[in-house]
Amino acid sequence: MKIKAKVKKDITKVKMLIKHDMETGRRKDQDGNIIPGLYITEVSASHNDQPVFYAEVGQAVSKDPYMAFSFKGGASGDKISITWKDSSGATETGEAAIK
């Protein structure tokens, strides 16, 4: 997962790029069998361990999801942590410092 966070005039903008296939469950493989759905359902972010973002997403989100959000406050060097969870229950957490 790639995370970029930048503070400008007291507003921190956080951009993330998550590596995930986001299988919709509608695609078929070469033999015509349906590839089972496996996609991210929830993404949450925290700033110095305080929640600052939460999104519910569905199959309609592109492969390797990109998302961005902004919040007030945040200073250079503060910790941003992002966690996603997919439909199988798998999760991943990434961290970055605000620039």
Binding site: I11, T24, R26, R27, K28, T41, E42, S44, P51, V52, F53, Y54, A55, E56, V57, G58, Q59, A60, V61, S62, K63, P65, Y66, M67, A68, F69, S70, F71, K72, G73, T83, K85, T91
Partner: protein
């Protein structure tokens, strides 16, 4: 005497062991409960009904039951007029409306119209972006929940190559 002492001792040990075992078991159970409830706190509930709805009306009413929609010019929906590749359509939603609780994106003609819901708090700036899939040319609808009302704006996005399947 010695034997008796030993027996007492071992009985004592057994008691401690049993108590220790029970308390460990309880601690273990408490840990499991904590671990199980943590992700729920961090990640509130995924609205399965709304995401699995197959019509726009179904998805909207599951997502926002009982709330009225008003068309709004206070929302800026940024999306391409023509998307060459439906698999990756960049979308941005921005608004100056106060007290924004949620922002949702719906694609009218997608097999599952609800694409995403962003939950915002007062510290957030109502400015989000995401890349979504669009199966075919369709209306893209952004809904902003603010002040107990649903504000809506829509735009047609023409899709040259579909983003679902194949």
């Amino acid at each position: 005497m010695l034997v008796g002492d030993d027996m007492n001792l071992s009985e004592k040990n057994m008691k401690i062991d049993r108590r220790g075992f029970l308390s460990n078991l309880l601690k273990g159970a408490a840990c499991i409960v904590t671990v199980a409830s943590l992700p729920r706190l961090a990640l509130a509930a995924w609205n399965e009904k709304a995401f699995k709805a197959e019509t726009l009306e179904g998805a909207m009413s599951s997502k926002y039951p009982g709330l009225e929609f008003v068309d709004s010019s206070a929302i800026k929906l940024k999306a391409p007029a023509i998307a060459e590749n439906g698999a990756v359509v960049p979308v941005g939603v921005k608004t100056d409306l106060p007290d924004v609780k949620t922002i949702s994106l719906f694609v009218e003609k997608n097999p599952s119209p609800l694409a995403a819901t962003f939950h915002l708090t007062p510290i957030n700036v109502a400015d989000v972006s995401i890349r979504i899939r669009m199966g075919e040319t369709s209306n893209l609808i952004a809904v902003v929940e603010s002040g107990g009302k649903l504000h809506r704006v829509q735009q047609e996005v023409k899709v040259t190559i579909g983003g679902c399947g194949g």
